[in-house]
C-alpha cells in the first residue's frame, strides 16, 4: 500500500458589478473555495470542498462537497457523501471554480441557489467506464436524499420524505473526436414544501461540450416535469437551455478568449412547484477573458437580461479569478 497523500486546491475571485437601476454597484468578493483531497490508499480516499461566501454582514461557511471514495477499478467507483449533482454539464464541470469557467457568470439555470435544478445531492454514487471501445462511454448512478423544504438546498440532514431521489447519467467522450463530450441524465424525486402538497419531479438534461478552446462550444438543455402526487392533472413543465461559444485566439493574442452566450428559461405558470416563483428568464452575454497569468484570469462581461417580463436590464462585470494549485 502506498503512503497517504494530501493535496490542496484553492479558488477565488473578486468582481466589480454595475447594473441598471441598482444603487449597490461595487466590488464583491466572490467565493473563496478550498479543496482537500486525501488518498489514504490506492483505492480509498476522502475529498472535501469548503467555501467562504460574503453575505451582507458576515461570511458563511459551507461544506459544498464531502465524500469518501472507493475506486475498485475503472468500471466501478463507489462514493458516499455530498456532491455537485451530476445533472447536465456545467454544474459538475465548473461549479465553484470561477477560474475554470470561461465566463464570469454561470447560466441562470445552474446559478448558486437555483431552484430549477437540485444543485447538490446527498447520498451514494456509483460511477465508472462502460466497455464501449472508441465511444468512451461512462455512467453515474446515484441514490440519496431529495431536496430540502427550502428547495434551493440539498437534504443535508436526511430526506424530508420517505421517497428517495435517484439519478442516472450516461456520457461519452469519443476517442476519435478528442475534446468532445456528450451526455444525458435523468433525475427523479418527490419534493415536499412546507404547508404544500407533495410534488413529483422528473428532470431530463442533455448536453454537448467541445472543450478544445479554439473553439469551445457548450450547449445544454433541461426539461423538468412537476406533478402533484395526489392529483397528476395538476402539472407543469420547465424548459431551459443555454449555448455558449468561446474562441482562444492564436499567436501573440493567445492569452485572449472572447465569448458569447445565449440562454432562456421558461416555466409554466401552472407548474405546481415553480410556477409562482417568477423564474422565466432570457439573456445574452458577451465577454472576453484574458489569461494574463497561468493561474489567474481577468474577464470583462456585458449581460442583457430579463426576468419574468420585468423589463430588460443591462449589467457589466469585471472579475479577476485565480486558482491556487501546485502542478
Amino acid at each position: 500500500m502506498s503512503e497517504p497523500e494530501f493535496n490542496i486546491l484553492g479558488f477565488g475571485d473578486i468582481s466589480y458589478v454595475s447594473q441598471d437601476g441598482n444603487n449597490e454597484d461595487g466590488f464583491f468578493v466572490g467565493q473563496a473555495v478550498a479543496h482537500l483531497t486525501a488518498s489514504l490508499s490506492d483505492s480509498f480516499g476522502v475529498f472535501g470542498e469548503f467555501s467562504l461566501t460574503g453575505k451582507d454582514s458576515e461570511y458563511s461557511v459551507e461544506a459544498e462537497r464531502l465524500m469518501v471514495k472507493f475506486d475498485f477499478s475503472d468500471r466501478f467507483k463507489l462514493s458516499a457523501g455530498r456532491y455537485h449533482s451530476p445533472i447536465g454539464y456545467w454544474n459538475s464541470a465548473f461549479h465553484h471554480g470561477a477560474w475554470l469557467q470561461t465566463t464570469i457568470s454561470r447560466p441562470e439555470v445552474v446559478k448558486f441557489g437555483s431552484k430549477l435544478v437540485p444543485i447538490h445531492f446527498v447520498g451514494v454514487l456509483l460511477e465508472g467506464a462502460l466497455p464501449s471501445g472508441d465511444l468512451g462511454l461512462s455512467y453515474k448512478v446515484g441514490f440519496g436524499n431529495g431536496r430540502h423544504g427550502n428547495i434551493a438546498r440539498a437534504g443535508d440532514a436526511g430526506d424530508i420524505n420517505s421517497d428517495k431521489a435517484w439519478l442516472v447519467q450516461l456520457s461519452s467522450k469519443p476517442k476519435r473526436m478528442f475534446g468532445l463530450e456528450l451526455g444525458m441524465d435523468i433525475y427523479s424525486d418527490e419534493v415536499t414544501l412546507p404547508a404544500s402538497p407533495n410534488v413529483d419531479e422528473t428532470t431530463i438534461t442533455a448536453y454537448a461540450a467541445w472543450t478544445k478552446e479554439s473553439p469551445e462550444v457548450i450547449f445544454e438543455y433541461m426539461h423538468s416535469e412537476h406533478k402533484l402526487v395526489n392529483d397528476s392533472s395538476a402539472s407543469g413543465d420547465v424548459n431551459a437551455w443555454y449555448g455558449q461559444v468561446a474562441y482562444r485566439l492564436s499567436g501573440k493574442h493567445r492569452l485572449w478568449k472572447p465569448y458569447v452566450r445565449v440562454e432562456q428559461t421558461d416555466v409554466d405558470s401552472s407548474d405546481p412547484l415553480l410556477g409562482g416563483e417568477g423564474l422565466d428568464y432570457d439573456a445574452g452575454v458577451l465577454g472576453v477573458r484574458w489569461d494574463f497569468n497561468p493561474y489567474a484570469a481577468i474577464k470583462a462581461e456585458y449581460r442583457n437580461e430579463e426576468f419574468s417580463d420585468a423589463g430588460r436590464e443591462n449589467n457589466f462585470r469585471l472579475q479577476i479569478s485565480f486558482v491556487l494549485a501546485k502542478l
Partner: protein, 176 residues
C-alpha cells in the same frame, strides 16, 4: 405586447445566428490548423513509453496511451492503480508528449489537470519528475508507474511498451 413580440423576434434571430456560428466553428474545428504545434519542437530521439517491469502490458494503441495519460483510464487490467510520471516544464520530452499525446499547450495541460482534480475524478495530478535519471529510478521503484523518456536513454531495468505494435526502433513508430 408588440415590444414583447419584437424582442422575441430579435431573440430568435440572435439564437439562429448563434447556432449558425456554433455549427460553422464546430465543423471547422474538426480539421483545424495545428494551433497546438510547437514550431521549434525538438525530437532528437524517439520517445519510449516505459512502465514498471511487473506491469502486465506490452502493447498499447495510441488511443489507449492517450486515455492513460489523460487519466481516463486509471487502473491496469490487474487493478493496480496507474501512476503517471511527467517531466517538469522546459524539457523537450514534455513538449513532445504535450504536443503528440495530449494535443495541448502548457496552459491547457495545467488547466486540464486542475479541472480533473476539481471534479474529483483523480486523487492527484501526475507526479512531476525533473530528470531522466529520476524518471527511471521511480519507474523501477513504483509498481503501476508509467512514463516517457528518450529511446536512447532506456535501461534494462524498465520495460518498454510497444505503441500500435511498434518499438521506438521500428519504422512507423508513432512517437518519433
Amino acid at each position: 405586447m408588440n415590444d414583447r413580440a419584437t424582442m422575441q423576434a430579435h431573440l430568435n434571430k440572435l439564437i439562429r445566428k448563434f447556432m449558425h456560428i456554433a455549427v460553422c466553428m464546430l465543423l471547422w474545428s474538426v480539421a483545424p490548423p495545428n494551433v497546438y504545434a510547437a514550431d521549434d519542437l525538438v525530437t532528437p530521439s524517439p520517445i519510449a513509453i516505459v512502465v514498471h517491469e511487473s506491469t502486465g502490458v506490452s502493447n498499447l494503441s495510441l488511443a489507449e496511451l492517450r486515455s492513460i495519460f489523460l487519466a481516463d483510464q486509471q487502473f491496469w487490467s490487474d487493478r493496480t492503480r496507474i501512476i503517471l510520471l511527467v517531466r517538469a516544464p522546459q524539457s523537450d520530452e514534455r513538449d513532445f508528449v504535450l504536443n503528440r499525446i495530449y494535443q495541448m499547450t502548457e496552459a491547457q495541460f495545467r488547466r486540464y489537470w486542475i479541472a480533473k482534480m476539481f471534479r474529483s475524478e483523480v486523487p492527484r495530478g501526475p507526479k512531476i519528475v525533473f530528470s531522466t535519471d529520476v524518471t527511471l529510478e521511480l519507474v523501477v521503484a513504483i509498481p503501476g508507474s508509467i512514463s516517457f523518456i528518450r529511446a536512447d536513454e532506456v535501461t534494462d531495468d524498465v520495460k518498454v511498451v510497444r505503441i500500435d505494435g511498434k518499438l521506438p526502433s521500428d519504422s512507423g513508430y508513432p512517437l518519433k
